[in-house]
Amino acid sequence: MSIRATEQRETAAGEIVGAGGAATGVAATGGNGFYPNGRPVKKIDGTTVRMETEGLTVRYGVSTFGIQDVSMPVFDRSVTALIGPSGCGKSTFLRALNRMHDLGVDIEVTGAAILDGENIYEPQVDAVTIRRRIGMVFQKPTPFPTKSIYENVCAGLRLVGMRRKNVLDEAVEKALTDAALWDEVKDRLRSPGGSLSGGQQQRLCIARALAVEPEVLLMDEPTSSLDPNATMRIEQLIQQLKEQVTIVIVTHNMQQAARVSDYTAFFYVGEMVEISRTQQIFSSPREERTQEYLSGTFS
């Protein structure tokens, strides 16, 4: 990785330090200063960094930049919101965090995305293992059309070999309850996932992602197709999940970002403009562009 990327990281870190305020107070992952994989824990301002990008760049084709040179931390067991105008690269960034671009034809990812001190783009890292640990909820609901509601939720467990019925039953009920869908579907678990309404499908996809118990959860506008009640329950779920899980969420709803997130990163035309603690960025953003965007959306 280049010196330039390292400098970028310092800047990102500096902003967070500047943002001040105590850490979430949760003990570092692995407890004793090491990640589960044995690498030393990195902290910024006393808070454990779970993921981090260094000069992360995604190109679509030769010339179109999805994101350019993004360096930012994602703190352990906290919620990081990604905000910014449509087309600024939020989804592109999110998808780069669990190697979702791997399959894309003509998509080039450079720079580093680091999980527990290890770059997930290193050749020896297995993308499948990474994606087991870093779950994702997509912008558009994508239930598996040939599978029932039940099979949709336990697909992740089942397709990697979990067969014990009581384990699966329990996982399905827990995930659906967490995703605020259990009451609506508990009597029709055998009907196809595609038979649900759009909002229900989205919650099904949330349940499906939760069922494999990821360590990091990436959510791309998870509530954009939900009614206020379901939205509130997903927001509560996020609050509850962050005791265990590190969450990155894309949202166009500033109130939602303010409500659920601990940190907020502002993206603009493919660049990460600033990341700060959420209260900080909403009350006194450092960058003029952030200021303009936020006042634009609020007024």
């Binding site: 979702m100 499948v128 779950g135 059309p145 040939t146 992602a209 494999v212």
Partner: protein, 285 residues
């Protein structure tokens, strides 16, 4: 343009479409009608229970039929299908799901070339591969030849239906930490299964009507046989040899055989449609 003029134009376009469709459908009915009129008299009990034997049988009014051609067609076509489906689907998957693989463009070039190749060449290929190496004509060689006819069709249709399944399906599967091959076989392929089955049916029907690839492989047989290692009879090829024979009685049997071949293809499609309809209904409710 006035509203009236727009209505008039709409009506004209509709009439033109009906006419053009009729032009396509009418010859088909003429063919079917012609075949049925000429062949129906040949369809008696003997036709379905007796083997053909020598021309003398037909000439002297002894029992003769095409049961050996009917069973032969079913056996050779089904064995060909069993051989072609795994290769065809695997090649389709390679072309659609593994586009970055160096074999993928090669497969695409080869399947389009094979699709446009005269079927008699598939017979020559099977002749070179199987007949030459096993020392004689055999039903198995016929199946191999028909499998060569089916594979590019199955591969092409599989590729195109896989390509239109939503991209998000693959991403959703991968994001759960499911390995890529498992995403393809357990999520993408089932979502496209109705289309894949349609492709298999088209390939099957196409191969079932081919006579040319069988001339040099399964060769034909006037007598009943289910031995895959020996020559076996098939309807398309038998139609041809009956039609060019000098015996009047055999001509009528040829028309009768054509009715059976038509029925065979129609039943294949009917059963296929039912299966597909059931699959689609399963996905909807």
């Amino acid at each position: 343009m006035t509203l009236k003029a727009r209505y008039a134009r709409d009506a004209i376009i509709q009439i033109v479409m009906v006419l053009l469709t009729a032009l396509v459908v009418i010859p088909l009915f003429i063919i079917i009608g012609y075949v049925v009129i000429n062949g129906i008299s040949a369809l008696n009990m003997d036709f379905f229970t007796q083997e053909l034997g020598s021309p003398a049988r037909a000439m002297r009014g002894r029992p003769t039929g095409l049961v050996h051609s009917i069973t032969g067609t079913i056996v050779i076509d089904l064995v060909a299908l069993v051989m072609a489906v795994p290769f065809g689907i695997a090649t389709g998957i390679m072309m659609s799901e593994y586009q970055e693989h160096p074999l993928s463009p090669v497969a695409r070039l080869m399947t389009s070339t094979l699709n446009g190749m005269p079927a008699v060449l598939m017979g020559l290929l099977a002749y070179g591969l199987v007949v030459k190496n096993t020392g004689g004509f055999s039903a198995l060689a016929g199946s191999v030849a028909l499998a060569f006819v089916m594979i590019p069709i199955i591969a092409r249709t599989t590729e195109s239906v896989l390509r239109v399944t939503p991209w998000g399906l693959r991403e959703a599967g991968l994001s759960l930490g499911i390995p890529r091959w498992k995403v393809t076989t357990s999520l993408v392929l089932p979502a496209a299964r109705a289309g894949v089955v349609t492709g298999i049916l088209i390939a099957f029907a196409r191969a079932a009507g081919e006579a040319a690839p069988l001339l040099l492989t399964s060769f034909g047989n006037n007598y009943f046989s289910l031995d895959m290692t020996r020559p076996m009879d098939t309807l398309p090829q038998r139609l041809y040899s009956l039609a060019i024979s000098p015996y009047k009685q055999w001509h009528a049997m040829g028309w009768g055989g054509a009715i059976i071949l038509l029925l065979f293809v129609m039943i294949t499609f009917l059963v296929g449609r039912l299966v597909i309809r059931r699959m689609e209904r399963q996905m909807e409710q």
